[in-house]
Symmetry: C2
Subunit: 582 residues, 2 copies
């Protein structure tokens, strides 16, 4: 062993011991007779002291050492004169007696500090240096702890972790698969799994009863800022359960994580139906750290010659508490913001109630009594500001949701260290695909409809609710799942509603449907986005820092320069050629 202790553990109890440490040079300071070096490793930072009088050569050697050099030093632990109580080792320092430079280092392209001067691409190119920075290192350690606590909880609940295959079969449904050409079966391809969905269901047919896996999944999508082509799921499935059992079990998981990782006791999670989430938050993953629910004015605002309201299928608003003093300029700015193409609303109608009374942008059409009624409906009072949007239902709800989140942020109601968890339930089973003029499964074709809605499958497919649920934390969908269909007749029915012929269903899902012939138990499950969960626990908006070696928005690993060309011989062996393109 190159060391006796780490750079994070020495304190006053070690004074006068001779120790050996290893680590990287964080910084060094020459103060005439003394030279100080902060030596860093994964566990912390320890101050090294070199005395010019007693150890001249050593001290001169120390002065020649650059940042990020790798050192091995030994010396005596002594109490510091100037203590630094912010760090665990801040009460001691090492009077160095021996110094060995284990490795030199070029000057890093950015500083190894909490706040780095490296841009995103530079940080990713030199990820091995970026990880030396405390925030990134802590993010990876947090991820490790989360994974570890997930397993602890799942094991305690008798779940078995099973590894499902990575080289599977491509299915035309859903997002694009990454494929892998087979050399031994030329002309054929494996696909990388978008999720282990079918395998976990097969494990239930196999009788494993409770399965989980922390598993890499793959999706060949055009990447948005915060998507990665490979991502990690906590994938789970249980047999002989109803929806309630799954909600209880996985609410338990998330409570366990909050308690053990963040020492936060999460109360029982509220539940809201999909329909109510859309109605009150405009959005199926509401951020419930703050209230500010959407209210509707439709009935009472019609027929007052205000054409915008008269023509609008939806007139909805939110009440911004304490914002009555918003200036005209602030409201104009908000109006510009909501008119941007990403949201595309036409404008904002506002009503404010301050000590001068109630004033609005529609004073021409509505008198104070009427506006006061609006405040009543909104649950508002003197001091508040009501913001109203009107227009087509879906688009307006979306815009209201954005406006609500924006106001929440402006009012400081979305603190990253506050956590609001809830379940969204009763998702629609189907969604209409306008392009293909057919119904698609909202979740996947094995999701079970609510028994009481099955009779709607023919007359009103859009009205059928599913036994499907999402867990939402702070407006982020962290997990989602469903109870599965395990009855052959019902499965056939669903396929027919989805417009599959028997043959198509068999070709795409044959092996799962065959398996279901041999005694499938009632079962259901859930999957959590692990990268997202980590970033949420870390209080970050970006998942990248929680992935050791992430890819950029073009799906490139800029550090190793992948993807890259391969040799003609490799292509030949695989039996594929590249299309020439200019």
């Amino acid at each position: 062993m190159f060391r006796t202790h780490t750079c994070g553990e020495l304190n006053l109890s070690h004074v006068s011991q001779t120790v050996t440490l290893c680590g990287w040079v964080q910084r060094s300071r020459n103060l005439g007779g003394m030279t100080f070096i902060d030596l860093r490793d994964r566990y912390g930072i320890t101050q090294l002291t070199f005395n010019m009088e007693s150890h001249k050569t050593l001290c001169e050697q120390a002065r020649s050492i650059g940042r990020e050099y790798v050192l091995q030093v030994s010396g005596k632990v002594v109490e510091r004169e100037n203590k630094n109580l912010k760090i665990a080792t801040g009460e001691i320092e090492i009077m160095v007696e021996n110094l060995s430079v284990l490795n030199t280092a070029l000057t890093p392209p950015f500083t190894i500090e909490d706040e780095s001067d490296g841009g995103d691409e530079l940080r990713m190119k030199y990820r091995y240096l970026d990880i030396r920075r405390n925030p990134v290192k802590q993010a990876l350690l947090l991820r490790h702890c989360l994974a570890s606590e997930v397993r602890k909880y799942m094991n305690s609940q008798h779940f078995v972790e099973v590894e499902t295959p990575v080289l599977i079969k491509s299915t035309p449904e859903g997002a694009r698969d990454f494929v892998v050409p087979s050399r031994m079966n030329q002309g054929e391809f494996y696909a990388l799994p978008q999720s282990p969905q079918t395998f976990k269901q097969l494990l239930m047919v196999a009788g494993l009863d409770r399965y989980y896996q922390i598993v890499k999944c793959f999706r060949d999508e055009d990447l948005r800022a915060d998507r990665q082509p490979e991502f990690t799921q906590i994938d789970c499935e249980m047999s002989f359960v109803e929806q309630e059992d799954i909600l209880q079990t996985f609410e338990g998981l998330v409570k366990h994580l909050f308690k053990n990782i963040k020492e936060i006791v999460v109360p029982n999670m509220p539940r809201i139906t999909y329909a109510d989430a859309i109605k009150y938050y405009g959005n199926d993953k509401p951020d419930t750290r703050f209230d500010m629910k959407i209210f509707e004015l439709k009935d009472i605002v019609k027929g007052k010659n205000f054409k915008i309201f008269d023509d609008a299928p939806l007139v909805g608003g939110i009440c911004a508490t304490g914002c009555a003093l918003y200036t005209r300029k602030q409201i104009d700015e908000l109006t510009e913001w909501i008119k941007r193409p990403q949201i595309g609303a036409n404008g904002i109608i506002w009503v404010r109630w301050n000590n001068e009374g109630i004033k609005s942008s529609v004073d021409k059409f509505y008198n104070e009594k009427e506006l006061k009624k609006w405040f009543e409906i909104a649950g508002g009072k003197e001091g508040d500001l009501i913001l109203i949007l009107a227009g087509e239902e879906t688009k307006t709800r979306k815009a209201l949701s954005e406006l609500r989140l924006e106001m929440g942020s402006r009012l400081g109601l979305r603190d990253k260290n506050t956590f609001a968890c809830l379940w969204v339930t009763d998702f629609p089973l189907l969604e209409w695909n306008e392009e293909q003029k057919r119904w698609n499964a909202m979740h996947h074709p094995f999701t079970s409809p609510k028994p009481e809605d099955i009779e709607l499958l023919d007359k009103n497919p859009g009205g059928v609710r599913a036994n499907a649920y999402d867990m939402v934390i702070n407006g982020v969908e962290v997990g989602g799942g469903s109870i599965r269909i395990f009855n052959k007749e019902l499965q056939k029915k669903i396929f027919s509603v989805l417009g599959f012929t028997n043959e198509e269903a068999q070709a795409q899902f044959g092996f799962l449907m065959n398996a279901f012939e041999y005694g499938a138990p009632p079962h259901g499950g859930i999957a959590f986005g692990f990268d997202r969960l980590c970033s949420l626990f870390g209080g970050s908006d970006s998942i990248r820092d929680y992935i050791a070696f992430p890819k950029n928005n073009s799906g490139r690993d800029v550090m190793i320069d992948a993807p890259s060309g391969i040799s003609k011989e490799q292509l030949n062996e695989l039996g594929i050629t590249l299309k020439t393109f200019n």
Copy 2:
């Protein structure tokens, strides 16, 4: 919840409770007035009893139920008359009062019993039924427990589990990569990792200090019986350590696993150099459950006109204890066995010492005194049989190794429930590639030579020993690793010995070599084959049962029928075309 208890937990303490169970019908028996059904779930089997007199309809319904139907039953727990003390629930049965068939089942293509009548392909095609069989289910549960204990130990030693990427860059070295065409970067490919080797070294450069991961790896090889294109490794790396620290840490891991999984206390592991392993066992992964070391006779057998010995660079033998009574027929059979092309020895010279004295197949050339000397060298005595092979060094040692293992098996010295662990150390750094007339790295090009052998790099590269080590259990290499080079000059030297130009080294390993410029710590690691470790703990020769969904020898998943063709659109999007072939 569909049940109050599982099928594995009820015993006399539950008598007279009303319970609800779910599971599969293992078998049913009609005995006139009574019908018995064994109900099975993951946790066990519970006997259900239907009484024709008191519950006629229920009993008739029970009689119509087939194997593998999925049932939900409730009833009272009663003490059994005919107890079955072999199973945990064997003292009770359930007097069924309610029965609900949750799902029917076709007759399985093979029986769901410990010994199955399904062939390998059939079992893999219906893997979800195969897993219902106890031995396969237990194999997967064992795998889960092993993974869980690995993590427990590694976490206790402050290792951090870090997920490394699956979509990486293809390198021409080593085995064939599986590649993944990139749609967003047409004409370019990702590769699936054969191991996270470079990433774990980068994590050491990044200062993570102690890394591990239980991780899928991929190798596009022509598959032998017991290889899988995707396999799982326990991958580990440590900083600021010497070889001894790694051996201690991972000897600790394996001891922990034996203790916690099999309640076996493993003694400190013996160590043997590669040179001695070859000398005494003919093999770098000796099975040390039994002794039977190879001895050499060369010096004393020459010059007696026995041409075979006179011409042979190596005359070596083993002593089969207690085999003096082997018949001529048995020895002939052994001779035929060793002459098979897989081994290809020319024949066996034998000497036996029974109560009639010493007799051999070379009595014409050697007298009893001389033969007795052989026994002395072999460590044999009256009652033993000496088997001798002669010929070219490498081939003969290999044949002796095979013969030794075969005799060990025949003598019952290779019990699957006995475990002999050892470290093989001091592997050669390089091996000569006769085809390409150059030196190859035996492990990989980052393996550190022993400091005292560095001076041999120029004059005698083949004589340079590496700081590389394997852990061998019962003749199986379960893990292997090395101390890495972290010094740029030494790394350059090794690349030059391996015949790389600077440019080639940069092109293939550039990002790792760049990283090493920024302060790489001394580090080393090891990787264990997790599938193999599981099968070893399970006492099986095959790894397949320890993989939930294995592939066959052609790399096919016969259950889901992968690999398979993909659509023209997919190929177009990827910018590749298939070569036409007949």
